[in-house]
Symmetry: C2
Subunit: 352 residues, 2 copies
Amino acid sequence: MHAAGQVVLAVDVMGSDRGAVEVLEGIYCFFKHLRCCSIRIIAIGDREILDPIVNGRRFAKFRHLLTIFHASEVIAMDESPTKAIRQKKDASMVRAIELVQKGEADAVLSCGNTGALVSLGTIRLRPMTHLERPALGAVIPALDSQFVLLDVGANPSPTVRQLVQNALLGSHYCRTAMGLHVPRVGLLSIGTEEGKGNELVQGAHESLKALDGIIRYIGLIEGFQLFSGEVDVVICDGFVGNVLLKAIEGIACKLKIYLKKEMLKNFLRILGCFFLSRAIRNISGKLNTRQYGGAPLLGLSRPVFKAHGSSDRVAIEHAIMIAARLAGGEISHHLEMDIARAEEILTRSERI
Amino acid sequence: MHAAGQVVLAVDVMGSDRGAVEVLEGIYCFFKHLRCCSIRIIAIGDREILDPIVNGRRFAKFRHLLTIFHASEVIAMDESPTKAIRQKKDASMVRAIELVQKGEADAVLSCGNTGALVSLGTIRLRPMTHLERPALGAVIPALDSQFVLLDVGANPSPTVRQLVQNALLGSHYCRTAMGLHVPRVGLLSIGTEEGKGNELVQGAHESLKALDGIIRYIGLIEGFQLFSGEVDVVICDGFVGNVLLKAIEGIACKLKIYLKKEMLKNFLRILGCFFLSRAIRNISGKLNTRQYGGAPLLGLSRPVFKAHGSSDRVAIEHAIMIAARLAGGEISHHLEMDIARAEEILTRSERI
């Protein structure tokens, strides 16, 4: 449907906590900073809200790169995913996924209900060959480094095989979206000695050791190693990952408020802040999760990208950028080959 | 054995990463700041190392409150707990637990191998009546509040019943050691809607709701709520708790280094720090895990307190203070009654 060489993104603009206008502003920022015309966006949502903005003067320069696709319904954040998918056939998220399913778009971006996006993506776009379940990843800033954590909620109780496949997904994402050549993969546990952790971790540890050559497995890691810069991809079950992701966000948010309160308490301190303004800007930037505020749903035949419900325009711009990079790459072909190789090795070694 | 009204603590001084001298310094600080003679300490370790220090001038004033108990062996941090317990009959940790078992001391404090302490405590001091497994708790600072997290590693794969019993243990610890009258108990999950999380959490959630009147259960909580000050006791399995505890410590440590580096980069910034010195002291104090650097092993017939392996003298002093408070309280009697009541309710409602 779309011109050769051009990447088309389906952006669900309705599910955001901040409203459709903020997502449109993110799209505007993306186009403004984009230096090529190789990316086109289909914004899916209520035409009555979107048209007046998109047809205004600001969007005029990018109007040929933006299409509006009408959808009359929205899946709310607190709705039951299964019920919503069954009942809301014309929801913006459903339509966005359908566009990719039909080949009219290459990737999906949504700020909406995570559960619904995971279910819809899995049902409509199907996991890759040999892959049992998709995984939700998150890029976590660690001050002077960053790491991909997965799964962060798509699969709270995975099997050993699914955990091992997640290592391949994470490793691949790290290469494609973050440009790391040989990402270091670690398996999160509660002690690095052999035999520690639970059954799931022990099983996955044995299997991952056999995958040398496909991924760079550095072994079991503990919670305090997450922020030491020694690992690029951290594998864990969706329960642990989700708790950890939200706890880290909670700490960053709380810390920012606390630091601000302490530093602006009186005139002397405000004066001190003046001399430290550059340092404060840097620190504040590091505690800002906006630029990382997205989670790729990995392992589907086409890329699906979940942005935070509370994403502002800057976060949306970053999310679109990453989704476009994923959609443009040859991600699925290489990954499918790796998964097949891993499957072969694991079956041969009878470890699973 | 000990005079009526006097609390006796058995302190294993050998297992620390910083060496026995640092633990003795902690004991010295404790006595120096103590205003009564109601607490006596038995320091267990190698007499050759301990005697010269304890018999020196500094300890003279407190010598009547301190006894040395010789133990020729030490269980190392990286030793296999089961193997160490079997082979090292004269280890300082073994002797410390034995003193409590024989009634010669009221509580144990050790910085040594956590696994060995949990196993030894469970085998020698036995869990309370009706309690299936002890739990390791940790007090986590949340800047302007704090919460008890349990279990942080004693039981990585608990049953629903064990998770529910941990709620009673945590609630009780919060009352006794932290002085909170009606602690708010939350169950850690990955979404607060009913039906979210894994099977374990769903089962425990139903049971905890039935325990109204024994504990104040506020329901399921998510990672970002940990640091919002809305919960005093956080219940989770030992795998999640251990990962979380170590991740939080990792973040605090990394952040401290990063803030220092950013703020002392040039002369102007150092000048800024001068005006902000009070704020920096406060922030640094909040990021300091030393005063919380301990974990009570809850649910045994007598209190066992695990201090961090890397605890310095200040941390040891705090740990002794808490262990003494636990040993002096009527903790086990009330707790055993609560556990029995909970057992009755849960059996009646056939929820477990």
